[in-house]
């Protein structure tokens, strides 16, 4: 696997390239689009830890996005914004609080698997939204909360948010890369394939699941925090938004679950397509149809996501070249992120093995 050696170099080049965009006179509307793209790329990467590597399709991650947003907003009801950078200083705390809230939740939710886990986690999203609407003393309810806008110059207003989001994306990708290279990643692969068997051969199943979930939702909460500061006004229905959850999951599936670059690729394709279509198709809602169409076409042609499909093709071509005389048809590498992936993770009812 030579990719491992050039992995960090590729990552650095990507981050440098994307990081230089705000400094080369890219227009504001493009930067604004990219801010949202980076937001989704960071969250998809974080989600991929749980949904991809561990095989737990969480639909509750947007709840942590909302939690992060509200921590920022509530904090700045009582503190002032002077330089404009204060919301960023708060981010580590936001991440930690997100992870701490995630822990007991995961402890309960991760006793379920696959579809049931998806349903259980989405409830957290609606619980969060309901609380945000109704704890009016804390959240302002439907009135929303305002964060004093940062006094950044209008010429480069997006720049700090853009760079901090890029940093969060770098953290998410770095964590993913380290996880995949460590025995945590190996353990997660075993959990995804056959959790009961993994537990029975001594894999620290509960430990790696909890750890991954907490890190993942911690990063997600930080993204929510940046979003709140960028928007400077948040409402429950946008902070706890099912569309965010759906976006994250779709992007990861599109790019390729369980891969390092898949979620990033998915975010850049889908978010940019969506924003662009929204601009060009304008005020009507046709862009949503076009958006769905993009997704359907890719899923039709590459059901496992873009990257795994390309990797599988490359792998089989390389092998065919290595042994040109081998008449035996190439067995397909196991589908990561296909429907079969879920099938194996559904627990057998107790005693079915009799």
């Amino acid at each position: 696997m030579g990719a491992k050696a050039i992995g960090p170099a590729r990552g650095a080049v990507f981050l440098l390239l994307v990081g230089s965009l705000p400094f080369v006179g890219v227009q504001h509307w493009v930067l604004n689009m990219l801010v949202f793209t980076l937001m989704y790329a960071a969250m998809s990467s974080a989600w991929n830890l749980v949904g991809g590597l561990a095989g737990y399709p969480s639909l509750g991650h947007a709840a942590f996005f909302g939690i992060g947003a509200y921590i920022e907003a509530i904090w700045f009801q009582h503190h002032s914004v002077v330089s404009g950078y204060e919301p960023f200083y708060l981010l580590p705390l936001v991440g930690i609080v997100g992870a701490v809230i995630g822990y007991p939740f995961a402890l309960v939710a991760m006793r379920t698997r696959a579809d049931v886990f998806a349903i259980v986690t989405i409830t957290l999203l609606f619980v969060g939204q309901t609380l945000a609407f109704n704890l009016t003393g804390l959240t302002g309810g439907a009135q929303g909360l305002a964060i004093p806008p940062a006094p950044f110059s209008a010429d480069s207003f997006e720049r700090p948010y853009y760079l901090v989001l890029l940093l969060l994306l770098a953290i998410a990708m770095g964590v993913t890369w380290l996880t995949m290279r460590s025995k945590v990643g190996l353990s997660l692969s075993a959990v995804r394939a056959d959790e009961d068997k993994a537990a029975a051969i001594g894999v620290h199943v509960g430990g790696v699941k909890m750890l991954t979930f907490c890190v993942s939702v911690g990063i997600t909460a930080m993204v929510g925090g940046v979003w709140a500061a960028y928007e400077s006004f948040i409402y429950p229905q946008f902070a706890f938004d099912p569309l965010i959850t759906i976006g994250i999951v779709l992007m990861t599936f599109l790019g390729g679950r369980g891969t390092l670059w898949g979620p990033v690729l998915g975010a850049f394709v889908l978010e940019l397509a969506q924003q662009y279509l929204a601009y060009t198709l304008g005020g009507n809602e046709y862009y949503l149809i076009a958006y769905a169409l993009v997704f359907l076409v890719v899923m039709l042609l590459m059901p496992r996501g873009i990257l795994p499909t390309l990797q599988a093709r490359l792998r089989s071509r390389r092998r065919r070249r290595a042994m040109p005389d081998d008449p035996v048809a190439e067995p397909a590498p196991p589908p990561i992120g296909s429907a079969a992936d879920y099938a194996v993770s559904i627990p057998a009812p107790n005693g079915s093995e009799r």
Partner: protein
């Protein structure tokens, strides 16, 4: 010889079906004990009870001199009791080498170390060579044949240096050459100090390899003896051929 595993009066029902109904057996340290019986006699349920995959309704299990009745599979694995499954349960999305490494059991500190460090690779390589799987080390386990998967699962349980290995039908659906290989591996590992308890339908295999043989019928043991004794016992013949 001392008893490594003692099962006493174990019970487990599924609704009205008494799958295991007062079974008792002893596995001596260093033995290769067989557990045979007609279909539906409760062999696999008994396996699941011993290995903690199921909780018994009554009775007790002792392993290595300590109680193991309510211990789960993970706890028992740490104590040196491990098993294979009737349908080999390997991790199809991991490579053959990774399947072995993930089964080696690591500490929290090792968890944050490299996915495969040189020591892991070496340990895996040694086993793979022994099991003649070295040439497929980098393939996904999903690409292996059925027999190779069984070998892989067997090799994987050896990674954690167990004291007692429970094999559930190690030869079912495996070609004759592989059966011989499997037999040889069990012999070698047994000579190296690992105790085996084997559920098996292939009587030739059992007769060549195992002593003693425990015969299970309708959820309890009906006879324990040497292979030769088992073959001549009227109660055993009755259980197999039906009354």
């Amino acid at each position: 010889m001392t008893a490594l595993l003692e099962v006493k009066d174990l019970h487990r029902s599924f609704g009205p079906v008494k799958a295991v109904d007062g079974a008792s057996l002893t596995v001596d340290e260093g033995s290769v004990t067989a557990l045979i019986g007609p279909n539906g006699s409760g062999k696999t349920t008994l396996f699941n009870l011993i290995t903690g995959h199921l909780r018994p309704d009554g009775g007790s299990v002792r392993f290595g001199g300590a109680d193991a009745t309510t211990a789960g599979p993970a706890a028992l694995h740490r104590r040196g009791l491990t098993r294979t499954f009737q349908q080999a349960r390997i991790f199809p999305q991991l490579t053959v080498q990774e399947n072995l490494v993930v089964a080696s059991g690591f500490t929290w500190r090792e968890l944050f170390g490299r996915r495969i460090n040189p020591r892991d690779a070496e340990a895996a390589q040694r086993l793979l060579e022994e099991f003649r799987l070295a040439h497929v080390a980098d393939l996904y386990a999903a690409e292996l044949s059925y027999g190779q998967r069984k070998l892989l699962e067997f090799a994987a349980v050896l990674m954690s240096k167990p004291r007692l290995v429970l094999l559930d039908e190690p030869t079912a659906g495996v070609n004759p050459v592989l059966i011989e290989t499997m037999e040889q591996h069990i012999r070698e590992r047994n000579a190296a100090g690992i105790t085996f308890l084997i559920v098996e339908h292939d009587m030739g295999f059992v007769m060549r390899l195992c002593d003693p043989v425990v015969v299970l019928d309708r959820g309890r043991e009906i006879f324990v003896g040497t292979p030769a004794e088992v073959q001549q016992n009227p109660a055993v013949l009755d259980a197999y051929l039906g009354a």
